[in-house]
Symmetry: C2
Subunit: 329 residues, 2 copies
Amino acid sequence: MDNHRSVRREGKRVFLVDQTKLPHEEAIFCSEDYQTTCQAIKDMVVRGAPAIGAAGAYAYVQAAIGCTNNRQQLKTAATEIRSTRPTAVDLFNILQTLTAITEKNGSISDLEQEAEKAVEGIVSACRRIGEFGATLIPDGARILTHCHTGSLATVEYGTAFAAIRIAHEQGKNIFVYVDETRPRNQGALTSWELSKYGVPHEVIVDNARALLMQKKRIDLAIVGADRICGNGDFANKIGTYDVAVLAKHHGLPFYVAAPLTTFDFSLSDGSQIPIEERPSKEVLEIRGTPIYTSGTGVYNPAFDVTPADLVTAYITEKGIMTTPQIGAL
Amino acid sequence: MDNHRSVRREGKRVFLVDQTKLPHEEAIFCSEDYQTTCQAIKDMVVRGAPAIGAAGAYAYVQAAIGCTNNRQQLKTAATEIRSTRPTAVDLFNILQTLTAITEKNGSISDLEQEAEKAVEGIVSACRRIGEFGATLIPDGARILTHCHTGSLATVEYGTAFAAIRIAHEQGKNIFVYVDETRPRNQGALTSWELSKYGVPHEVIVDNARALLMQKKRIDLAIVGADRICGNGDFANKIGTYDVAVLAKHHGLPFYVAAPLTTFDFSLSDGSQIPIEERPSKEVLEIRGTPIYTSGTGVYNPAFDVTPADLVTAYITEKGIMTTPQIGAL
């Protein structure tokens, strides 16, 4: 058991690095039952598609332990776990595997083994994504990344972040522009995690991305994904589509890094991905400080969909793929 | 004297609606001397290119009164006033007119008259900009605007804001998406001022603009300007260039509204406009609440430059103009 993982389990207890407190405080959130883990997913104590998948898998194990594997109760629990966040697909994929075990009368121990196998799969996939992704980052590269895709988001290594981290570990002289990613400012997590690995970087407001591209101070953009459709369209944190359009306008490569568990081949294109709208409070205040007067109307979509034609390549644990190669999977 | 103006003068006292306190508190900042007015411009108590011009004109009058029109002292004061903010050109244009009066041995009373004339010119120009701009806003339009261009920014009426306000007053059924405009969240001022006039609107994070355009929920974008070059390139609040690129990508009209005092025909293109970089504190915290850990590196440019080829039309007090018409001025 690696205590440095952002999501881990000991028996029926699930430990999450509390992302709502970072970067101001490093705290561990401990959940004793699946309901608490579900609430933690909803409250974004844990966030990032693969980390949500891991937390959801562990929540299912908690539910199985808590109701001694009662099939009807487990079915209810699975529905609750699936309903925590609607956009990321990793959660649904992992739950499908685990509920199939229950349907085949698998034991709690079977579920524990499968959940651990799934989490190990995420970690090793991220490591490989990082290795493949690093080959796309030349020495001297100035990189733009959006949102947070580090170990917090994926148990370990990260996705887009893994490529950056490994390029840095290979001795490449790189510089990262971290956009703050309003409304939840996940750039603060990216900056915090880049600092941990000593990667040179600066934070910018989301509005400063285009200026940097115009001034030729960015060489490539790399982001993660929450769900990738069969045709290569993908959902990711709100603002990702902006980055893709800007990269296209400035002739810059735009890479998407994600494990195969993030792919949803049941959806033929991005118009079918449900987009979560989150509470206006996320926009109206920061850490309890009001920015706007109360009663201000807000539209707060959590994700957007980037069409495949804006993507230069997809970085997966199976290698670097273009859109036609995604279609062939 | 209109007490509702965001910038006004009574003798040597200058009154500014304190934009650093809005929308949470409606306070008037009173300055007794030009140094205090200069500091207020630097601290963004007053902001918006035309309002800065008005405050700068009044600061020069304060200096003339304070030093009983001593030419050497006034020269020093003019330099100080000009150095408060480097990007907006209205300030430089107004100062040039006023210092010319001093050079011709004009009296304090001459300066007061000229300053008031300049401010009245701003107000009537804005009213006309609003009338011309409203003709570009069809009934039913869903409008994206960036930063704040209302009466606070221009003494009265505003620029882009005036077009929206007058379209609404004409009974057109319009809806405004107000992007928050990080880092200083001037969207809060726009939302506050739209509420005053009863214009339906919602605040969005800057990251949500592209999604709205993709979903065909925006019909046009309209912004102000801090300096427009002879070729039509213009500087405005950071993120304006992003809006322009996104509007182009989605085939939407992108309008710039500004008085002729904002034009700087001495600059042939946008590469010559100096871009102000502001303190990292603006990004790192909001109203005293830290968002990032202290010591986080930040790049914080206050403006960007949008090339003329992304502009559908310029709205001035002389009418609606295309880029070639700007060139002909």
